[in-house]
């Protein structure tokens, strides 16, 4: 779409500029030119890394100037000649084309369209009309990943994600808030959740390894229609929220993998409070100290096996049995029994949920 716009401007300027002018894309292919025969040709441009990238530079017979997004200029204007005048033409044309591109993007931007979908800012009926207008491929599946910046840094996470997924026809990076960035990623049909998790891992690792920035990623389910992107986005949001409560040590939480936390997160708080009162009739869970709770955690991790847990805790078996007895006296629950153990496990999760200050209802 932009190419047609560029060609139109270049064509109009052809008479005003007495030399060949045109635009090349990231692959150095001519996408618009005053000499129509050149369109589709590949120009050999050798970039000078030392030079300031926003300034015009000379390579071969032409003078070039990049334009587009400041961090990642997608296009370059080229003007025949290596003299000062060519550089001046370049600068003028770059300003003009960049402004037109900006105006065009604002009105017909696919990114904006996707943003409106995931934020429910567009009527469902309009989605298909606009999608057809913007020539969206409806045969592909997409997944929404929500990236939340945990530690502030002086780098722009949005720019980095944009550079990791630069194909603007397939992937969309959208700034949701100061801390949240959504990535709508085109995926292959039947993509596995492991592949998406690996992708999320690469985002987390690149940001922490390269830029010392900690992020957590929520992954929504993979959807096949554009209108379902809003659902995938909400799922990614829920994953992050649930992860914050129940999986504090994890940086990647997938909606497909929330387990029992998914159920507890949706329970009314009043019901949760009633449940806790019922379970801990004899005494409050708060009367259990940190060491006891740690012991319980390890006991669950070791499948209620007393010998194994005592070995892991470096305590004598009898010490552990004594601690379990103490818990039984306080709570009335014997954790060595499966039924009691599962009630206690759920009660601990409910407690965690209530501690996270959910909306009370």
């Amino acid at each position: 779409m932009s190419n047609r716009l560029f060609q139109s401007v270049v064509h109009q300027m052809r008479d005003a500029v007495d030399r060949t002018i045109g635009v090349i894309d990231e692959t150095y292919t001519v996408v618009a030119c005053s000499d129509l025969g050149k369109i589709g040709e590949n120009l050999e441009v050798s970039l000078m890394h030392g030079a300031a990238e926003s300034e015009p530079f000379v390579s071969g017979r032409y003078t070039y100037k990049p334009f587009g997004t400041p961090q990642h200029p997608e296009y370059m204007i080229f003007v025949e000649g290596t003299d000062v005048e060519a550089a001046r033409y370049c600068s003028i044309l770059a300003v003009s084309l960049a402004s037109i591109k900006f105006y065009y993007d604002e009105n017909y931007d696919r990114g904006n369209f996707i943003k409106n979908i995931i934020l429910d800012n567009i009527l469902p009926g309009d989605i298909y009309l606009k999608a057809r207008e913007l020539r969206f491929n409806s045969d592909v599946t997409r997944t929404v990943l929500l990236i939340r910046v945990a530690s502030k840094n002086d780098v722009s996470v949005y720019d980095i994600i944009g550079n990791l997924f630069p194909d603007k026809t397939k992937d969309f990076v959208i700034n949701i808030s100061e801390t949240d960035i959504a990535l709508v990623k085109e995926t292959k049909q039947g993509v596995s959740s492991e592949t998406i998790t690996k992708l999320a891992n690469s985002i987390v690792d690149t940001l922490s390894g390269e830029f010392y920035t900690q992020v957590s990623v929520g992954i929504g389910t993979t959807v096949s229609s554009l209108k379902d992107l809003a659902r995938s986005f909400k799922e990614a949001q829920v994953s992050l929220e649930v992860g914050k409560v129940f999986d504090t040590e994890k940086s990647i939480v997938s909606y497909d993998n929330l387990g029992i936390a998914r159920l507890i997160y949706q329970l009314p708080t009043t019901l949760c409070e009633t449940f806790l009162r019922e379970v801990f009739k004899k005494g409050s869970i708060d009367s259990l100290d940190q060491e006891t709770l740690f012991t319980i955690q390890r006991f669950f991790e070791n499948n209620l096996n007393v010998s194994e847990t005592s070995r892991k805790l470096f305590v004598h078996r009898n010490t552990l049995v004594y601690r379990l007895e103490k818990i039984r006296k306080i709570t009335g629950l014997d954790l060595r029994e499966f039924d009691h153990a599962i009630v206690f496990k759920i009660a601990l999760m409910v407690k965690k949920y209530l501690k996270s200050n959910p909306v009370k209802y």
Binding site: H49, V155, L164, N201, S202, T206, E210, Y212, T248, E249
Partner: protein, 380 residues
Amino acid sequence: MASLSLRNIYKKYPGGVVAVSDFNLEIKDKEFIILVGPSGCGKSTTLRMVAGLEEISSGELYIGDRLVNDVAPKDRDIAMVFQNYALYPHMTVFDNMAFGLKLRKTSKDEIKRRVEEAARILDIEHLLERKPKALSGGQRQRVALGRAIVREPKVFLLDEPLSNLDAKLRAQMRTEITKLHQRLGTTFIYVTHDQTEAMTMGTRIVVMKDGFIQQVDAPQKLYEFPCNLFVAGFIGSPQMNFIEAKVLKENDDFFVEFGSEDTKTRAGVKYQIKLPASKNKDNCLEAYVDKEVIFGIRPEHVHNEPELVANLPDGIVEANVEVTELMGAETYLYMNCEGQAINARVDPSSTARAGDTIKIAIDPAKIHIFDKDTEKTICN
């Protein structure tokens, strides 16, 4: 270049999970330290605490003489390489390596100097104009390393950087990283779950399990003198054989006895292996007489070559061969000896075949004995 000091480091998550407990380690300047252990043992968490990506719950971390617990990651003078690195697909190798520096507003001349220097060290100067899709797996990995090198850090932190590579490339990159360490002369901390990587690369290895350090030592010492059953089993491939046995004493001689003999029916066989006097250092075996222990023997110390069997009359047992694996330079025999699995690494000329009952010799001098309850080493 810098030394590191980790003192009583703990990592406790708000949910109650304790990932690292009482971690104490002194890392010397220019050392290549490996953190190794199974998944979930806390090695990556420890590395991330050193990096500043995880808060230290308690304890002190010094880089050089500076306490860095509250220092931001970017000010710790470290660089990290992770398993799931991603390159910027639309950028050239040069730009991929320069991108981080550009965002940190490093001058163009300095960026050029650092990238070219890193490319020279990694031998990728000829690839600088290429884009990631035109690179092989190994070349991409080098670019990822290059991104860390251009920062010229005091400490390199590598978290399973080779896990995504195939076996051949992994072996090649192991050597490359070792050479890189020698060339850069910087402190390296390397996390892996692969004991081969640990044994071949590090100057010292830290074996971890369940958030605790099990043992810290040079690779060879770790292999020969494991401090407990876990370290003995984790280090070495194929794994050390573990056999349930009983310690016996006759006169001043100690034996390990194992087998399947039923005390009532007398069915089955019991074997006794006489231990050399050196195993009873500080009279350590005395307390275990008539008690159950676990004895360990590495597969290379179980022999079926006739001349070696003849030389080890105190350690001969009979075993049924279940599977043989010819590896080229050696053959692995997977056997069953009175219900206990024993693996041996023998000469490839061995004629033992599956189904055979053969005589094997366990070298008594190489036996390790472990306490069955505490799993600690009694003698090596």
